[in-house]
Structure formats: structure tokens, C-alpha cells
Symmetry: C2
Subunit: 255 residues, 2 copies
DNA sequence: CGGGTAGTTGATGGTCATCAAGGGGGGTGG
DNA sequence: CCACCCCCCTTGATGACCATCAACTACCCG
């Protein structure tokens, strides 16, 4: 139950959010607009969106949403990766998701954030104040519809993750994780030999899958020895046997 | 890994949905309108909502949403309780939530349902066709806003459940479950001596908490022996020491 | 070259799953 | 009305999977 010693270093990092470089708020040139909720807005009206957004870049390890803090802002990730997590008072951590390009964070109804978020790669996002977003949403009802779609999809993903956490073995969890990463990184399903990038550490993967670092590492090794995957480095994996991994992730394989 | 023998009986039940008694679609007299998304609609316009809804009552054990089937309908529960779950091919089951009065089901973006739903108490709901709901939503944008609020709240709950499944002990899970039930059943927080009704079986609780029947049962006994709860019957619990349970659920207590 | 961090591998133990048997309550049929 | 049965639940004995503890390697950067 005390598998949190390795968080000590990170925990010491400043929890407070300071945002250094404010880049120009030019939605027109945003390279992730086509995949984000902003695509609901016509390009000739983009300036109204841009007026409400503050574009910011932060570095890995920087926490930009802290659980329990007032939910004053909404974030639309435009590049990089962040981990979303919740903590227990004794330090146990559960990562509930990884947010990347196009993801939206902070749709809290309550006054305070229910989770924390920290960059794991150099991260860029558009930030909206609560009021600013409200204005944008009332100006562009279509965007609200998009948000509902996004939220629905996230609920489906959350249910899938509950199935993983509640009922899958360590091996099945890792296989599911690698497949979902591959899907997110946008390659065609069922294709083998696909290269997947792992921006997160073993510790992050463990906290996402409800396991320990050691168990994650052991199962990486095992999948490798069985030929299902190959490890170019600690953060680059090749899915050699896609179908085998799918079978595994669905729980068909007994061992 | 084979903790699913006890599902055999339920699995044999018909998966197909047949809806017996169509009750009159009178939203005006609906006693759960004030707490559901429908409250977004003015009472003098309720007839337009009623026109799109089919009110139905089904009995315990009846499955009304089946994972993988075309997501043709949306359901608004008005009374009773249903369990929402996902299955692995070998029968392992994860219950992702219990839906009660006021809850909304079937907000699928994809063509097919991502989960199944089955009544565990006599259940009444309003059913909307996909098209019917679309009409209602375009007529009443305020209702769409409500749906977004509901979805956001469910996302928060889902994250909480992931924390439970990934990082809490069996004891902590059960304590958390009892407290969340008490909250749902609408009593004031922190009050001790509250009576909670458990409409679901031990098997359902186990599948919700990612445990087995036996572990759930053992931990009920243990909480009882420690005086934290009292069991009037298998489906009625009294929370004797609310604060103790909260401490436990948050992981403060080591044993 | 040295220190620190991340990852791997091994040995051991604990929590919970599995296997097994017994108890209790509600409903049906005799 | 009682007996029986069935299902659900409880309790006990054993075992497996994964966590924990510990040592070691690889790699990065100063």
C-alpha cells in the first residue's frame, strides 16, 4: 500500500501555476484547430474565439491544474501531453487519463477542480477564463454541442478504463494500454509493426493502470520475450503482433 | 480469474428488450421532473417533450440496453434502479454505475451502445428515439446545456471510481461505496446513524468495486464487527460512524 | 568520473481470489 | 401450514497474483 515513495521528488515541485511565455492568440494559424472543439467555429469568426483565449506553453513537470483549487479556467491542449490524476491523502495516485492535442480540460461544474494536471512533455494550450468560456459558448452554441460530444466520448473511455482497472490482469492492462496509445497516435487499427511513442514514465503508466512500476516493467519484458512487442528504447515500442495484443487485451488468452 | 460462475443464471435471461406496459406520457405529473434534465423545460411546453417520450415500466432482471447493439434510444430513469455494466468475452463483468431516478442513459456518440443496462429494482423510464431526442434538443437548447452538466458530473464520478478501482483496498472501497450510496439517497453528509438501502446483490457490489462476492461479504462483516456499520438485513445498512467511514474511504486508516 | 534518476530483475510476503461447505430467508407446492 | 428448495449470503482453507523490499544496470548531465 505504500507504493508512493518515488513520487517524493515530484511532490516537491511547485504546485502553483505560473505561466511564462504568452504567445500570440492567433487561432487562425492553430494547427490543432481541425481536431479540437474549436472546429465548431467558422474561420471568419475565429477572432472572437481568439479574444477569449490565452495561449501558453509550459515545460514538463509543471502542474497547471491542482485538485481542490478553484476551477477558474478551461484548457484546450494544442500540443504536448499532460497527465490527469487524483491523489489520496497518503500519496497513492491514480492517473485517470493522458490529455493530448485536441483534448479539453476543466469542464468542472463544481467550484473546484476534481483532479490535477501536469505536463509530461512540453505542453501548449489555450486557456479560457470561466466567464470567457461562458461568453464563447453562448455566442457559439455549436461549440457547446461539440463539448457534449467530447464529454460523451470521454465517458465511454472512462467506462472502458473501469473495466480495465476492475477486472483485467496486469498483462491485459498493459496490452490494452499499448493498443489504446497506438490508436490515439492515429495509426490504422490491426496493422502490425506500428511504432508507438511513450511520453510517460513507467511510474506514470503504473499509476494509470493501477499497478506498480515493477509490475509494469516485468510485463514489458514479458511481452517483449514473447515477441508481441519490441522495445527500441524505454519510450519507443513496436507492436509486432497486433492481433495477439488485441486477443490479450480482451482477455482471451489464459496466459 | 474465473469469478463469473454466479452470472450463469442471469446470462440465460433474454437479452432482447420487450417493453410491456406503455403508461400515459404525461410529463406534467412526472414526480422526477424536478431532478432530471427535463427540468430545463417550461411546464407549459412540456407537451412537446411528452410527445417524444414513451414511458415504460420493466421488472428486475430485465436487460433494456445491450452492449454492442445499435444505440437507437435514450433513457431517462424516473424510478427504480438499473445497473450499467461491461463484459469481457470470458464473462468477467465490471459494473460502471448504478442509474436511479433522474439519471440519463444512452448518450452514445458511436452507432452502438458501449455498455449494457439491466433493471435491479422495478424500473420506470422515459424512452426517446435518437431522432426524437435530437428534435427535443434543437427545440430546447437549455436541455442540451443540462446534458453537458450531467455528463460533466458523471465524468467526475468516473474519475473518483477509477481512483477507487486502481488504488484503494477492499475495505476502503466498501466504505467509499456505502458513503456514496448514502449521499445519493439524499441524506445530509456527516450525519451518523443514517439508514442506507442496498437494492443490489453482493455480486453486483463486487462487480462494481472490482472485487469478489466473498471479499465484499467479509468486509461487510468486518465493518460490522468494528461497529462502523450495522446490518439490519442484507439490503439495509446503518452508518453508525460516519466520520470513521470517511476516514477509511480516504485511506487515512492503516487497518 | 561521479551523482542522480529511471528502469530492470530477483526474493519474499500480503491481499484478495478461488475452492469448498454451511446458514438463512422467501417463495412455492404439497 | 409446514416442508422443501433455491438463491443469496457467510465463513473457512488454500493459493495466486501482484506489491514490497532490495540490489543492480543503464543513461544522462554536470
Amino acid at each position: 500500500m505504500n507504493n508512493f515513495a518515488h513520487y517524493a521528488a515530484q511532490a516537491r515541485r511547485p504546485g502553483l501555476v505560473v505561466e511564462p511565455g504568452h504567445l500570440p492568440s492567433i487561432c487562425d494559424n492553430c494547427d490543432s484547430r481541425d481536431i479540437s472543439v474549436c472546429s465548431a467555429i467558422d474561420s471568419h469568426e475565429l477572432h472572437r474565439l481568439a479574444a477569449a483565449a490565452v495561449v501558453t506553453q509550459i515545460e514538463p513537470g509543471r502542474c497547471f491544474i491542482a485538485e481542490g483549487e478553484p476551477a477558474d479556467n478551461f484548457y484546450n491542449i494544442t500540443s504536448g501531453t499532460a497527465k490527469i490524476y487524483k491523489l489520496l491523502p497518503d500519496g497513492r495516485r491514480q492517473i485517470t487519463g493522458f490529455a493530448t492535442r485536441g483534448d479539453f480540460l476543466g469542464l468542472a461544474v463544481s467550484q473546484n477542480y476534481a483532479f490535477s494536471a501536469e505536463a509530461i512533455e512540453s505542453l501548449r494550450y489555450c486557456r479560457f477564463s470561466r466567464q470567457g468560456l461562458r461568453t464563447v459558448l453562448s455566442d457559439f452554441p455549436e461549440m457547446e454541442r461539440r463539448l457534449l460530444t467530447v464529454a460523451s466520448n470521454e465517458l465511454v473511455a472512462a467506462q472502458e478504463q473501469m473495466l480495465l482497472l476492475g477486472r483485467k490482469t496486469a498483462r491485459e492492462r498493459l496490452a490494452s494500454f499499448l493498443l489504446s496509445l497506438a490508436l490515439k497516435q492515429g495509426d490504422c487499427p490491426h496493422q502490425s509493426g506500428v511504432r508507438v511513442h511513450l511520453p510517460m514514465t513507467r511510474g506514470d503508466i503504473a499509476d494509470y493502470l493501477g499497478l506498480t512500476i515493477e509490475t509494469v516493467s516485468r510485463n514489458f519484458t514479458r511481452l517483449k520475450n514473447e515477441g508481441l512487442i519490441a522495445l527500441q528504447s524505454t519510450d519507443a515500442v513496436t507492436l509486432n503482433d497486433r492481433d495477439g495484443l488485441v486477443q490479450l487485451a480482451e482477455g482471451y488468452c489464459s496466459e
